[in-house]
Amino acid sequence: MLQVCVKQLLSAIQSAEAFTLPEMDTGTAYLYNNLYGKLAQGEDVGLSNLDMTAFDTDDIASLKELYTEVFEANSHAASGLTMTLRHMNPICKIVNYV
């Protein structure tokens, strides 16, 4: 049976390296902030809100690659970890109530 020490898990999470965004050129960064960023926060983005001169089609491809290889992959990993923890059976233990 899989057991997890919560203290150790918390310690591992706290000491893990913070996620840093990979380097992006100006156009990709524009799309990341003005498209992905807003959609991720639940906001609607209209074509009229975007400046078509601020990026080119290569930047769109870069963002797509970034999304697939980093964001989506991280999201899958996080979901997997969440599901594992959620389905673990609790261990009964006698503790002092006070």
Binding site: Y36, D44, L47, T57, T68, N74, S75
Partner: protein
Amino acid sequence: MMIDKLEGFEMILDTLTVAKELHDIDRYDIVQTQFFDTLCLDAFYENMLGVIASVFTGFHNDYEDDEEYEIMIFTDDVISKYYCLAWEYGWSHNVSHNENPYVIEAKREANRWLGYCFSIGYKLLGYTRTKKTAMQSKLVVYSAPCECCSFDSLAYSLLQLYQFFARKCEEHRERVTKVRDAALENPAITDAREGVMAA
């Protein structure tokens, strides 16, 4: 910033790619008239169908119920003018239709952009027998439902083909203008003419 999986994000990016292409070829009017402004998964197919129907001026489509495929016929000034150039070249250089470099290049471009999927068929009906027939040139595309061929791919391909024809017509127009301007500015031609007039 929360990093999360967004439903349909890749299709949103595909929509943006097509919109950007249209912007870059000065056809953003299609985005303004055919696209839903809000970028979302639900609007994807409508947006792409709008592009397919609008990129060339003339668009006619029909659906074959028995065979389950769609026929689309595209006509435009850029196609007609291109084949008029082809006719002119063939006539002035005494070159047959199949050996005409304009015809060969157009076939190559059509294959490049439309020959990517087994469920897309096409026929580039380019005529060079006379100038009148050249003006009736058109593009016919057949499309059967297929998971690997999406509407955005077809929309993008049609955009590229439109750009090809438009670019070639523009290049020819610039060449003709240059030659005419050079002829007008050439003093040798002017002196010769004056000499002829004086005699």
